[in-house]
């Protein structure tokens, strides 16, 4: 009974701010809605006994991605006159989203899931062993992807400065 109540609270904590993320006109408000949604999702992972994923969600999503998103929102201030609310798209977007949800929900309810309810146990040791044995190649590829993303992000955001010997010479002149 208490478990059900906790699940309902976590699901509400995930879904109600998600509506805010989607509908809010102010992107900073949407970013803070995303904070609560990600927090609720971390709670759901913890509820399912996925301790490692819950902590990774807290550190990577809330500590990294969300801070990055909020920084970018605040650095790219869009004046009101541009109008970043697309009401004319609400109809096709809501139709398509509802259709997708209908198909998914139909599938969820029609399949007879043979769910096992064995008690949850700590998974970090097993995840570590699996990553180092069965998933070693995906693990290495992912580290390469992270390196490529880091280099790409640094290249894209660097200051534009015409390169050339003339510029370099000027730089050394100015330096002292």
């Amino acid at each position: 009974m208490t478990g059900d109540l906790i699940f309902i609270l976590l699901a509400l904590l995930t879904l109600v701010p998600a509506v805010w993320v989607v509908m809010s006109r102010n992107l900073v408000h949407a970013g803070f809605g995303l904070l609560f949604t990600l927090f609720g999702a971390a709670g759901l992972y913890a509820y399912m006994g996925a301790d490692f994923i819950a902590v990774a969600q807290l550190m990577v999503y809330i500590g990294g991605v969300l801070v990055l998103v909020l920084f970018t929102v605040m650095m790219t201030h869009v004046p009101r006159s541009h109008g970043n609310h697309g009401y004319d798209r609400y109809v096709p977007a809501s139709v398509f989203a509802l259709l997708t949800f209908g198909v998914l929900y139909k599938t969820i309810t029609s399949v007879n899931w043979s769910a096992s309810t064995s008690p949850a146990e700590p998974t970090i040791a097993r995840i570590g062993a699996q990553i180092m044995t069965d998933f070693i190649f995906p693990f290495e590829y992912v580290s390469l992807v992270l390196l490529a993303a880091m280099i790409g992000a640094a290249l894209l955001t660097r200051e534009e400065r015409p390169a050339g010997p003339a510029n370099a010479a000027k730089d050394t002149e100015v330096a002292p």
Binding site: G3, D4, A11, T14, L15, A18, V21, V22, L27, A30, L34, T37, A41, L44, Y45, M48, A50, F52, I53, Q57, Y61, G64, V65, V69, T72, V73, M75, T76, V78, H82, N84, H85, G86, P92, A93, A97, L98, T100, F101, L104, Y105, I108, T109, W113, A115, S116, A120, R126, I127, F135, P138, V142, V145, L146, A149, A153, A154, L156, T157, E160
Partner: protein
């Protein structure tokens, strides 16, 4: 009510539909990115739920960890592109901008 697999899958489906709605209705590129994050979280909830309830294995959780890593890489590159867009065009509106250079 006995909380089981279908409940988590339903939460994931609602989250995915909301993310899809954001991707289709938002004009600001950062808003679109937030929708993508919602959809990735929905997929993660499904991965972890299947790993918990269907089979007594941690494969689903490892997939969820990979999804989190790829989402972080995607966010870094996408936000760098948004910043480059904003520097060159003065806007983050995905309708206006069609290239990265003038």
């Amino acid at each position: 009510m006995n909380v089981g697999l279908p409940h988590f899958l339903t939460v994931g489906a609602i989250l995915f539909a909301l993310g899809l709605f954001a991707v289709m209705s938002r004009r600001n590129a950062i808003g679109i990115l937030m929708g993508v994050e919602l959809m990735l979280n929905a997929s993660n909830i499904n991965f972890v739920a299947f790993s918990r309830y269907v089979e007594h294995a941690v494969d689903g959780q490892i997939m969820a960890a990979f999804v989190i890593v790829l989402a972080a890489a995607e966010a870094a590159v996408a936000l760098a592109i948004v910043l480059a867009m904003y520097r060159n065009f003065g806007t983050a509106n995905a309708d206006v901008v069609q290239s990265l250079k003038r």
